[in-house]
Symmetry: D2
Subunit: 348 residues, 4 copies
């Protein structure tokens, strides 16, 4: 069986494993104060323009989200999020556990707009009893979104301008950031992103690392005392070198972007194969996750060779997810192409 | 320079690195549902007698402590801890961040006694206004303690009996548990420990793993819905296989105990060398951390070859810490022995 | 000007003021341990069948809600609420500040149904990754609802049965409970309510008291150690006598019900007057709050004599709120009736 | 029996009761937006020099403490407090429930010194791993202290200077502030206090009100969005008029100070009577609480006529508390004087 279920089924890109082995007996100080972490912060600082002391390596995405949000908000403040936002649906209430409400907006194609955010801020401040209502103080979005779509830099800037207009901040969850940046839909660099957001993270777990997320805090005031809060939330890895080594490997010569391009290129072949098979899509994703809508007959056909994830329903069809990663091979995708080609699709 | 600063300066025991490399391309489900995690839970279940579904792998010690404590306590409940307890002094208020007070008791030789705990419970319940005071509902201790001392099973049972008498629980932080179990002072097995505590964890980070702690929840009621709370607190690693592989390696054939014995044997040589040099000790530790009291002259002498940690002061002398681990070599210890032998100690 | 803006514009029913004055120099123990509080608990215990030690007096509604919810839920648990629920919209994130997510369901006529709750529980437990999602563990509703509608005892029982089927509880916010019970729509007694809910509160602030809510915890397990949690959340009034005296006065001879009937009877006259004027309604409320939909012309006419609250919009008309209370007089309502009668309504 | 147990056994000063009755039928907006609250804020603003919009009325002391502390601190910050501080011992972990550690210092005569605070800050910032330790960011003290002693303005300024030196703030719990200000030991005005602290509250509950505390936030940055946080913590009374009316009455013509002087004058007579009887004291209190040390024989003698509170033990004697208030009469004190005079004390 070939797994297309997600982008974190395997370990890490082989170069990371090699580096971990090669450095294993080095003696390093803990908690991110080692030379590998410093080097990794340096690479990312150069790419983003953000000072190295505002770049932090955390273990996972949920942890990164709630730690940054806890650092950024005062008790009565909440965070605007698309209904489908990871913090709203798949983090077991981690943000609420830090005391903050997630205030949801209905997304279109996975995204929310500056106009929606504007309306939410206006509704809040125009309410005579707004002190009885959670104050929206941050906009949270994912780039790419949960359904693989990509915000343009213009959309991001509009969200940021709206946030700032109301004294709020913009935070971008980049769990799969590499795949957005490798897509045709991307019109920004890491530096553009850093200049646009108050904070964002560059996901490692889903883009070739064993684990780890690089949080970049552009807005100085959000970064104050951040290491205390990391430690408090269990987000300061004792052997911080492990994170340093991984991000050093990913960013010293562009491996992160190379991995991402590989995965997206294969995902485009997956997309095209489903298109040729006549399948509509749940979302139009230019990134590494594809969400075709399939019939029971096609599911039965595909299940003989492939594993993939159930995602939802639309128009009487089942939405499924096929994800590619650094570990996906040309052979695996070719097998899928062949399988779809032999299936005569007539039902759409 | 030879580092004796702590027991987590290096990566992991080489067998762990090899196993990570060997399994890197396996496709595994995430979040601890993989076969390696299942195998590791099985090994630990066998050793402890606790059902596998109440054994969980988390990333770090602070995280393990606050996640378990958050799962165990109701809002008005607090945790009794030695003043020197890790949760009280070195976790940036992580327990308080989950809403709970750490109630401290003064330790003797790093340990608190059942009599102290009994007095604390009695003082609470005898207070006419006890509803205005945090309810002590858990006893937290470390085995071995922060200064390397070891509770006997009798002491642990007395603490447990006291806790249970007042409707409280006993939780043991085993960040360095292997070293306690490898010491001459140990009179218990993992099964004894599991039968005595309501929960404890077997530390990996400081005993040969890259990272990871195996939490064993003996008391069924503490374990209810624990995975939700792990996820909420950022303690559920996406690629849970990494934890599974490490604990599988450590427990499939006793590597964990072997590593610990190695480190403790070398620590005893370190201890004896300081004793021969005439040094008194800050604490009498039978485990992998040694706390000799040294003069400025001895410090100056040792600093030429060795790195070690400042710990405190006593009687006009400086307490320092020398720690051994799986990575400490006979040669390193021999060098220390030789250095101490040539230093003519006359000042004590 | 005559105010119909809300039901807490005045102080308290005169009998309460008299009683406070009469008892002012009594010396009483604090924190609800006085004889007045005991007597008040006794009256409510008799009416509800719930033991007096599970009846507590708190100062306000928001406080009562978050204190009970904090006492009832474990960290990963959330509370199902109508989108319009007070805890979701008008408590500045008080529930989230205790760490818990409010999970919303769209109401119909202010109410949610057992079928909706059932679907929410099913969706949760059928999700393969439900451990990554907040666990619904309580249903919160208001009786009457925010728009004045009333759940029948059958509807309440269905909600309770659904909650219990999934290990959850039912909690009823009775900020205006008296007005529901005084309405034609009410088919239950306080004892029925106590037998149906796991906890509910009898609102005083909006039904004739200066302040105060009587929380009745039917479900013994929710009530364990409740006074600790009250104290912790600032909900244990030092001079608890003040709450005791007020609820003693309201419940010793039925004043609470009498006040409520008075207000509802006048509200029905308000409703009928708007009906005669041809106004449709935003919600069909049989209780003390009426939500007519009015034209700009009618607003201009009414504003000359009356103050009332803007509530929203529907079908091009403005929804407004007229509320009655113990303090509303026949004369005030007669003035409104007269005003509406002289206004020739043609625009609907 | 005559009660000297505490200063909140009775209702409120009769003028407050009269005012509540007289204003009962007024129609007022809620939540502190009424004219009485505005007037009361005005009086206190004049006395303190702090703008009226940074003066807030809350219901009780525990609530005031945790609401202000939650507003002031970021997640990793804690509050320095004397071990005997109310927030540390008698608020059921309310501060920890907002996520913050209370860091204790041993008091002398109920007070902590600037030198102690300085040492605590230095110890923190000199620790190489201070990011692993809660950051001290506020000093909390009570004026008068729990044992009735009074900080001089010089001591307060020294604490403030130390706090500010380390980027921290000074917060003063004035639950019994009137009694400190009425004492011979007081060398400051309310304006001095406001200029010295970042925030403090003027206690009403224990100084003649039914309930209520007036929080004065001198430091503008602590006051930002404070009403949101009050609402969130259940500290915004619906009928805010009740607080406004009480503080209006207490401050429009100096009643607060008059009440306090009355109580302290009587307390000095209580003190002198115990001194004449040969009793030593647990603390030397110039305020309304007296803590004589008594023998079993004296206890037996006094218990025939008086009720008082057990406080502790020292040197084989029992410490007890006698408290006076606005409601204590000359006759009650005269009875105590007489009783002590007839008791022949020989045992000290």
């Amino acid at each position: 069986m070939i797994l297309f279920t997600c982008d974190y089924n395997e370990g890490a890109h082989p170069r990371i494993i090699e580096r971990l082995a090669a450095t294993n007996l080095e003696q390093n100080p803990g908690y991110g104060m080692d030379a590998h972490s410093a080097a990794a912060r340096g690479y990312i600082s150069e790419l983003t323009g953000v000072p190295a002391d505002r770049i932090h390596f955390l273990v996972g995405g949920t942890q990164t989200n709630f730690t940054l949000i806890a650092a950024a908000l005062r008790p009565h403040e909440g965070v605007l999020s698309p209904e489908t936002g990871h913090i709203n649906v798949h983090e077991s209430g981690a943000v609420e556990a830090t005391g903050h409400k997630v205030i949801t907006l209905p997304p279109t194609n996975g995204k929310i707009t500056a106009a929606q955010a504007e309306a939410a801020f206006e509704a809040h401040y125009n309410d005579a009893t707004h002190e009885h209502i959670v104050k929206p103080a941050m906009i949270y979005i994912s780039e790419p979104t949960e359904t693989g779509t990509v915000y343009s830099i213009g959309e991001l800037r509009a969200l940021r301008d709206t946030a700032h207009k109301y004294g709020a901040t913009l935070y971008v969850d980049g769990a799969r950031l590499g795949y957005a940046m490798a897509s045709d839909a991307c019109d920004f660099t890491l530096r553009d992103l850093a200049e646009t957001c108050d904070a964002f993270y560059i996901g490692g777990t889903k883009v070739g690392a064993l684990f780890g997320e690089a949080l970049v805090i552009s807005n100085e005031s959000l970064g104050r005392d951040f290491r205390y809060i990391m430690k408090q939330r269990g987000a300061m890895l004792a052997k911080g070198r492990l994170l340093g080594i991984q991000f050093e490997t990913l960013f010293e010569d562009g491996l992160y972007f190379e991995i991402s391009k590989h995965a997206v290129a294969l995902a485009m072949r997956v997309r095209d194969a489903f298109l040729r098979a006549g399948c509509p899509f749940y979302a139009e994703s230019p990134t590494n996750q594809q969400f075709p809508l399939i019939t029971p007959a096609l599911r039965a056909h595909l299940e003989r060779e492939f594993v993939f994830e159930h995602w939802g329903e639309r128009d009487g069809l089942e939405a499924v997810r096929f994800a590619t990663s650094w570990a996906t091979t040309e052979e695996q995708v070719a097998a899928l192409e062949k399988s779809l080609a032999v299936f005569s699709v007539t039902a759409y």
